[in-house]
Structures are given as C-alpha cells and as structure tokens.
Amino acid sequence: MKGAGILLVFLLTPMTGMASDSAAVTPAEAYCKWKMVDYGVPEPLCGLQGDAGRGRRIVLDSGQGNCLACHRLPVDGVEGYGTIGPPLAGVASRLTRAQLRLRVVDARHLNPYSIMPGYYPDLALINRPAVKYRGRAFLPAQAVEDVIAYLATLK
C-alpha cells in the first residue's frame, strides 16, 4: 500500500469478508462423527475421498477455508496473508494425513486455547452460532477432505 493512488483503490474496494459476512450459506447436511486416535483422525470424514484441486480452491477462498487469513501458503501472487498460524509450506512433511485432519476438524484437542477454528467440530461445542448457520460446521465434510488432500501435497 504505497501512494495515494493505491490508497484510493484500497478505499474503494475494501477487502471482502472482514466486517461483513458475505459467504454463501451451504445447505445443512448430516453430521458424521469422527474419532481421535493417537492425536490424529485416521478415518476420512463420512468415508469421503478428497480432491486436492478442489481443496486448493477452498483453502484460498476467503468465503470458505480462508486459510490465508492466518497462514502463509506456498502460493504465488498472494499479498494479504496472515501471520497468526505457522506457514504451511512443507506441512505434509511434518504431519501425517491423520494429524492434519485433527488440526483441521478441531485443533482444540491439541491446545484448548488455540485460536484455530474447528472446521468440523462437535456441533454442540459451537457457542451462539448465527441463526443462518445453525446446525452447520464451518465447512462441509467433503470440503474438509478436499482440504486435507491439498495439504497432503505440501511436502
């Protein structure tokens, strides 16, 4: 953000998804219970198969995964990433799929104070969800599996 011209553009096109919640509401779906084993979730949610290509789009989409809000990712051309979580380059070399899955579905099992949102937590743990999101996890099970498939490519 340098110079008045860029500032003006910045003012006229505020970054979406900060004060307003413009994300599309996905239809509610049946919740699949998952089980933590050795600080991981070895079984895919609802037995679904993830797709890395779709997962990459979900990860980058501020209305879906919004991972860049907090993490840096090995993706070109992204300026507005966050520095709250660890960078995710090489994350698949450090963690197994099962470990990645636990971190995505509910990282509070590893750290109860974690700022990381649970993308597929026990729905009973969600406090005061907005009416239009009631009965939904942050992401549908298929989207979570797509994200895992993408993260698993970050070796």
Partner: protein, 258 residues
C-alpha cells in the same frame, strides 16, 4: 570480588527486560499505533478524515429543533460547550436510575425521549451515530476514564467473561485476536488491541461510521455468531469492559479504523 563484576550484567539484564517488546505490548495502546502510515495521516487531517462529516452532521442534528421545540443545543449550548469533557470521558457510566450501565448512545436516546420529548432514534441509525460522534468529539484529547470500582467492578468482571468467551462458527473470543495475537497480521491487516478510545470511528472496511457497539456487532457477525441486540445486557457489559481497558488512552473520535 564478584559483586562489582556482576553489577553491569544485572543492570543490562534489567534494561533488556524493560525494553522487551512482550512487556511493552501489554501496555494499553490506541488502535492508531497499529494503523498504516497513510491511514494515520487520513485520521489526522480534518479534511481527509470522513469521520468529520459525521461530526458536522451530528452538530446539525444537535442544533435542530424538533416539534417539541427543544433541541440538544437548547440545554447544552450551540457548540455543546455546556457538556463537560471530563464527564464524557467517563462513558459508559453506571446510573442506578437508568438501571445500570449507560452508554453515550443510551444517554442521547434517553435525552431525546425525556428532555426533547421526541422519539428516540433507533440504535445504529446513522443520525444517532452522528450525534454520538459529535458529542464524543467534544472530549477529544481527554483520557478515557471509565469507573472501575464500586458498582462497576462486578459488571466489568461479567464483561470480561464475555470478552474471553468463544463465539460462532469461527469460534474465537475477543481475547484471541486482541490479546493473544496483537500486532500479528490477519489477511494483511495488523491486529490492534481492540481499544475503544477512537470510537465512534470511520471504518475503512464498511465505509461507514461505527460506534463501539456496532463494531462489536460487526465482529460477532464476522465470527458467524448471532450478535447481541444493541439494547441487551451483554452488549452493555462487553462494551463497558472494552472501554475500561482503554482507560488512560486519549479520545480520538472520530478515529479512522480498519
């Protein structure tokens, strides 16, 4: 013989601890400290800062006579000079006769009903925000000075409990961002301590004015949580607690905030 040799090291250690950033970050800092340089310049320039449009609009409304014949200015002076800046800096206040915590917006609405004998403006109405902006701006430069003892003490504790509670699908508390990760970046935006001294402020994100209550509502909506109603007890408790955290910071209304 070791005493004199250790002394410089010990002094050095103390200096290093005092200069430590983690220690410094626990001191209350205005959101101004976390702004980009361009945004600071925008706030500081009365002609560039869109918040001054709200100040002007607020002054116009302050002077406007409703059918009842009594404007705010009838009692408080054309420039609001009869309002005491030190008392404005105390808001939100505890007022037993009004049932507990009273925010500046509550006081204005109460005045509209009881003194001007008109209908109170709805919460978050742009005209009410403009009036609040004009009145709070009269105390610009004063240090925020929310009461923390007496009847307020237990209420602020309740407000703090809300501050530390996770909300919504995104499942974060105020404390997560504004205490644990202050100074870090979220989508390229620097996270402030979430102080209240600049509010009502012009928000770059929405392109509109927001008072502290509206900003909290916008945060909760962002968390995909059901926001508190503007006249709810939770809204007052949380707002009062956040403003009490800002005690000692200079009022910057109208600030420019992301």
């Amino acid at each position: 013989m070791t005493g004199p040799r250790i002394l410089p090291w010990a002094l050095g250690l103390i200096v290093a601890l005092l200069a430590n950033n983690a220690w410094a970050d626990r001191q209350a800092k205005s959101g101004y400290a976390y702004l980009r340089e361009e945004t600071r310049q925008m706030q500081d320039d009365e002609f560039e800062n869109p918040g001054y449009l709200a100040v002007d609009k607020g002054q116009e409304l302050f002077r406007r006579r409703p059918d009842s014949g009594r404007s705010c200015a009838s009692c408080h002076g054309q420039e609001g000079a009869k309002l005491d800046a030190k008392r404005l800096a105390r808001y939100p206040v505890y007022d037993k006769s009004m049932g507990g915590i009273v925010r500046l917006q509550d006081r204005i609405r109460n005045c509209q009903e009881q003194r001007a004998r008109t209908k109170a403006l709805p919460y978050h109405d742009p005209d009410l925000l403009a009036l609040e902006t004009f009145v709070r701006h009269l105390a610009a430069g004063e240090a925020v000075n929310v009461q923390t003892d007496g009847s307020m003490a237990s209420l602020l504790k309740k407000g703090e409990a809300i501050y530390r509670t996770r909300f919504g699908l995104i499942d974060m508390s105020c404390a997560h961002c504004h205490e644990m990760y202050t100074g870090q970046y979220i989508r390229g935006q620097r996270i402030s301590q979430g102080m209240g001294n600049g509010f009502p402020a012009y928000r770059l994100d929405t392109g509109e004015m927001a008072n502290l209550d509206l900003c909290i509502k916008q945060c909760l909506t962002l968390m995909r949580a059901e926001p508190f109603m503007p006249d709810s007890e939770e809204s007052r408790l949380l707002g009062a607690y956040i403003m009490s955290r800002s005690n000692g910071l200079r009022i910057e209304t109208p600030a420019v905030r992301y």
